[in-house]
Amino acid sequence: MPRIIACYKWVVDEAYIRTDSSPELDLEYADKKMSDYDRNAIEAAMQLHEKYGGSVAAITVGHPDDTKGVKDALSRGPEKAYFINDPSFENLEPAQTAAILADVVTAKTEYDLIICGEGSSDLYAQQVGPRLAELLDIPCVTMVSKIELAGEQLIAERKVDDGIETVSLSLPALLTVLPDINSPRIPGLRDTLAASKKPVIEIVKDELSGDFTPCLQVLASFKANMERNGQKLSDEAADIALLLDTLQSKGIIARGVK
């Protein structure tokens, strides 16, 4: 009966980043959301729970105001949540997040399996999962698209650059999952109501016992300029003919195609 911990991050929704020409990255009015791949992580934990029993807890590190994220996570099925928070726990770099999670997981939880998303939708550094596994000294498999349990053994399929590998490992272990592992269910009203009754274990900075100095300094953040001087065209025959002619005269497409 696996005791599973699903890690999630409550992130700024990148859809609120305006693609205008100013270089300034203004996130003041941006809404937050569950990091995309962490929906898959929680769903993967819930599907294993439904198949093999055991328990699922959610865990996160963030700002004390991120309580909406805790509710969101719980509405997706976990029976309880660990909410590690401090005003200084915003904009952490991956080494800090992994160290804080490792500290709490070791001191306050019992687990057989930890599941993370393959990366977060804000930073997408893809470090917290594998770093956490190293700090806990447990085996780790990243980019997982399928999970099966057989007692203490776990069989997983993982994506590598030239294919899919099937691997086996013993619990306790940590996995990071791909978006194609499942289609996360959308919480309904009942799930949302149930979520507010579930236990939330709050952990504040004073309860932690580590050194969480950043290993990565952010010098600047600015909007990526990807705009091009687009020529507007219609779907009329004359415009399409003009486009083909332009591309041909630039040597992009051959004049006598094939």
């Binding site: 990148e14 980043i17 939708s121 997408y124 980019m143 978006p179 990565l216 600047a220 497409i253 006598g256």
Partner: protein, 320 residues
């Protein structure tokens, strides 16, 4: 200075990182150390790396058939603790990124993932690096106060290092690896669709604007006329399953650099745009005038793709 370490799963990628290391070494000084997989007594690649700029080659130990090369992490970490490299560049393959994060955790150092730009700071004491965040909508400029300064580097950020005459260097083997905790039971090697897409000169991309699976035949007909490859956005592969997952273009899929990209009914979510930002020419067809892809397009066709594709096909057939 204690040197620049390099590791990439793919040999060509490794040669690119040697070039990156050489460029940095001009300013930051230090020897270039390349880590290579075990190669049973054939030192051809090691000598090639030395000829292209490596001062030392470290072989990883041989692995058992079901062994995972992550078992080598303790050896690399032990060696790094002893040799104290200043910089450690790792090729950003999927496994490379896992390896880098795990080594960084063991060395308690910082790691810049998917670094798209790196240069020495003004005082030549450290690296200034850039990476994309928020699905590619923004850039983060970072520095690493701890050592080694680690970064994962995507393919083709540097040209492969050239061979120089008369170079010499050391070749060494690391001690045996502890047994692997992860056993590889089997592998399905993928068809080369994703390789074809990353290499494609002309690339067509099908998005949600394509209404039915059979309509892809229209896209295929145009692709055949142009000698183009076909990719897709995430909904087409993950939700509709019309094309395999490895055809999915975007930040978490494949990143492409064609001469010409044509988005067919692609709205242009930021994660997708990031995957095509290095295309030379971006052309897009969409019936929504507010589609975000238009802002990043060189040619923005606002209209019905079911009208545009036949016109293109007809036009190309005529010019034959």
């Amino acid at each position: 200075m204690a040197g620049i370490w390099i590791f990439a799963e793919d040999y060509e990628h490794n040669l690119e990182l040697i070039q990156g290391g050489k460029e940095l070494a001009q300013k930051l000084a230090g020897k270039i150390v390349v880590i290579l997989p075990y190669n049973s007594g054939n030192d051809e690649k090691a000598h090639d790396c030395i000829a292209r700029g490596a001062d030392e080659v470290l072989y990883l130990p041989p692995l058992t058939e079901d062994g995972d090369f992550m078992a080598c992490i303790p050896l690399i970490v032990a060696e790094a603790l002893q040799e104290k490299p200043d910089i450690f560049l790792i090729g950003s393959s999927l496994r490379g990124k896992e390896l880098a994060a795990r080594i960084a955790a063991r060395l308690n150092t910082g790691l810049c993932s998917d670094c798209i730009s790196l240069k020495p700071s003004n005082d030549n004491q450290s690296l200034i690096m850039e990476r994309l965040i928020f699905g590619g909508a923004a850039v983060q400029r970072v520095a690493i106060p701890t050592r080694p300064q680690m970064a994962t580097i995507p393919p083709r950020l540097f040209f492969p290092a050239a061979v120089q005459e008369g170079r010499t260097g050391n070749i060494r083997e690391l001690p045996p690896a502890p047994p692997s905790k992860v056993k590889i039971l089997g592998k399905k090697t993928r068809t080369h669709e994703s390789a074809a897409l990353t290499e494609a000169r002309i690339l067509l991309c099908a998005g949600r604007g394509v209404e039915k699976e059979e309509d892809l035949s229209l896209v295929r007909e145009l692709a055949d006329l142009l000698g183009a490859e076909i990719g897709c956005t995430r909904p087409i592969s993950d939700e509709m399953h019309w094309l395999p997952e490895e055809c999915c273009i975007g930040l978490s899929g494949i990143q492409v650099k064609p001469e010409l990209y044509i988005g067919i009914g692609v709205s242009g979510q930021i994660q997708h745009i990031t995957g095509i930002r290095d295309a030379r020419i971006i052309c897009s067809i969409n019936n929504d005038e507010n589609a975000p892809i238009f802002a990043v397009s060189d040619y923005a066709i606002q209209g019905d793709l079911y009208k545009v594709l036949p016109l293109m096909i007809e036009g190309l057939k005529k010019s034959k």
